[in-house]
């Protein structure tokens, strides 16, 4: 990225356009990226239009309890007689709201902190870095559970907790990139022109480090879905009666040991797996093209 951004930082807007088009062309050729986009796109479409595609109301209770997969119920029904196929189709909608918003929050806060610490260095940098280290000593899920107990579980608190938990990690990545960038000539040039620190950070440096930030955002999105899934499974995330996949698994996994009723869990498990794998494929594809 840095090689390209140096070129793009030049005065010629035409050159920058060419570089950008080249990056897009490479992105369009990446098989990993395309596979990821297709999978994630499928689930986004399901989340958006799922309620019209789904054959039954995902929340409707019926007398047909724990029916195995059949023509009427492709994926069977759960313990409350709800159609599993319909629930799987719309099962991503909640996660796909929370995870991107949490990621966005973490990226915005983390980028700001990373820019400030990386640009100013000195005592601000030192003290914030120590706090970041302390944060990183705790696994995300333990931190989130503790915070959610104190704040109570709702979609909003979930977004805030995950977003704030991501902030130090994003800040660390951005800071490392800024450290390299601030030594470059265009920063010195801006300083000589008498530009303020805020202008240099957000107008000069920020556009040149979008590559690493986009990669970081996709990686974080994967972790956000992972975190929402784990927290929901534990009962601290998305609350019933939402047809969320992890909630379906949490509700029904105890039926597994009997050996029957596998359909109440398996399809939701496959769905959530495919979504996180899809997001990670996107992250991987972007990384290959945008990094260096």
């Amino acid at each position: 990225m840095s090689g390209m951004s140096e070129a793009a930082a030049g005065i010629q807007p035409r050159e920058r356009d060419i570089a950008r088009r080249e990056t897009l062309r490479q992105l369009a050729k990446s098989k990993t990226l395309i596979a990821g986009v297709l999978i994630v796109g499928f689930w986004v479409a399901c989340a958006l239009f799922g309620s019209t595609i789904a054959p039954d109301d995902p929340l409707e209770l019926t007398d047909v309890v724990l029916a195995p997969p059949s023509g009427a119920h492709w994926f069977g029904t759960d313990a409350l007689g709800r159609d599993v196929f319909s629930r799987v189709i719309v099962g991503a909608s909640e996660t796909l709201k929370i995870a991107p918003l949490a990621t966005l929050l973490g990226i915005v806060l983390g980028t700001t902190i990373g820019l400030i610490t990386g640009y100013f260095r000195g005592i601000v940098d030192e003290s914030i870095s120590r706090v970041i280290d302390a944060f990183l000593a705790l696994p995300l899920i333990v931190l989130a559970v503790t915070a959610l107990v104190g704040l109570g579980s709702s979609n909003t608190t979930l977004i805030i907790v995950i977003g704030v938990a991501f902030t130090p990690i994003v800040a660390r990545t951005v800071r490392a990139t800024v450290l390299g960038e601030r030594e470059l000539d265009y920063v010195d040039a801006a300083k000589l022109r008498g530009e303020g620190s805020g202008y240099i950070m957000f107008v000069e440096i920020l556009p040149n480090i979008t590559g690493p930030i986009i990669v970081e955002a996709t990686v974080r999105l994967g972790y956000a879905i992972f975190a929402v899934a784990g927290l929901t499974f534990l009962g601290f995330g998305v609350q019933p009666p939402s047809p969320d996949w992890s909630l379906q698994i949490a509700d029904n996994y105890q039926l597994l040991s009997s050996g029957t009723y596998w359909w109440t869990v398996l399809f939701a498990a496959l769905a959530v797996s495919s979504l996180v794998v899809g997001v990670n494929l996107i992250a991987d594809g972007l990384q290959q093209v945008l990094d260096r």
Partner: protein
């Protein structure tokens, strides 16, 4: 350790949370008084941290027994589970990563990289459930619970721990293998490797003495940072398998708003992470003379 000051600030009205919304304000105040939670936060924090350092974790609000009596055995159980997971994941992922790194771009490399990436991305409870379905329910090879019957022999205990630890292995494998792979690739390209080949060493000698030794360094660092993740994973896995470990304790404490136990549990997790990082630093310098000599000089 600043984190724990944050954790202290979060709970809000402890007495109200313990007694529920129907208790009178007077009762709530009395409980708060008895627990000492109405004192200034700084005093509370100091009290708690100084007791913690002396090994006195206080009394569980929910069970009314010392927290250390509950967390001690739970920690031992968790360490057993984590040990089994590590025994599998470290050699597996180092071997996998090395093979992938040596056969870069080949089919085996693709399988290990993409497979590892997918396993890492999938939430551990999903992996665990698929494992239960395959090995526990369909094939019936392994027990689907984690706790062995009372007085079971050590091999039996380990057998019961296999399924939960495999779920943790699945998540960690891709990550560790990926780091090993990239550092193996780096050292394969390095000058000293070429020199070693030119000296006339066989491939086996070059890989064993030069490539592996140099590429294990970053792996050690990653394994240590994954200890932190591992404990996060324990929270979910122990709940899923109903295994009485530290994760399960933190979970129950969180559900029942047993703040003292929750804080102590979280604190222990933090301490374990710090210890793991410290051990990794030491190992790092043992394997890397450059750092060792720097420290001496």
């Amino acid at each position: 350790m600043i984190v724990f000051a944050l954790a202290q600030l979060l709970p809000g009205d402890v007495g109200r949370n313990v007694l529920g919304p129907f208790a009178s304000q007077e009762q709530v105040d009395r409980l708060n008084e008895a627990l000492g939670v109405n004192r200034p936060l700084v005093v509370q924090y100091w009290d708690w941290i100084s007791h913690f350092l002396r090994g006195d974790l206080g009394t569980s609000l929910q069970y009314q027994v010392p927290v250390s009596d509950l967390l001690g055995p739970a920690l031992a159980n968790s360490l057993k589970l984590a040990a089994v997971a590590f025994v599998f994941v470290v050699p597996l992922s180092i071997i996998g990563g090395t093979i992938a790194g040596l056969k870069r771009g080949g089919i085996i490399d693709r399988v290990i990289t993409v497979g590892g990436l997918s396993l890492t991305a999938v939430p551990e409870f999903v992996t665990a459930i698929v494992l239960i379905l395959i090995f526990g329910v369909t094939l019936g090879w392994l027990p689907v619970t984690a706790t062995a019957p009372e007085g079971a022999s050590i091999p039996t205990q380990i057998e019961y721990l296999l399924l939960p630890s495999f779920a943790l292995v699945a998540v960690l494998f891709g990550y560790i293998a990926r780091i090993t792979r990239s550092s193996v690739m780096e050292s394969v390209d390095a000058d000293y490797t070429r020199t070693a080949y030119l000296k006339g060493l066989t491939r086996r000698q070059v890989v064993g003495r030069h490539v592996l030794r140099n590429s294990l360094l970053p792996t050690i660092a990653v394994v240590a940072t994954q200890v932190g993740y591992l404990i996060g994973g324990l929270l979910v896995i122990e709940k899923l398998f109903n295994y009485n470990g530290i994760g399960q304790r933190i979970y129950t404490a969180a559900v029942n708003k047993d703040f003292l136990m929750l804080e102590s549990g979280v604190m222990i997790v933090g301490v374990i992470y710090l210890v793991a990082t410290f051990v990794a630093d030491i190992l790092y310098s043992v394997f890397n003379p450059r750092i060792r000599f720097q420290a001496d000089g």
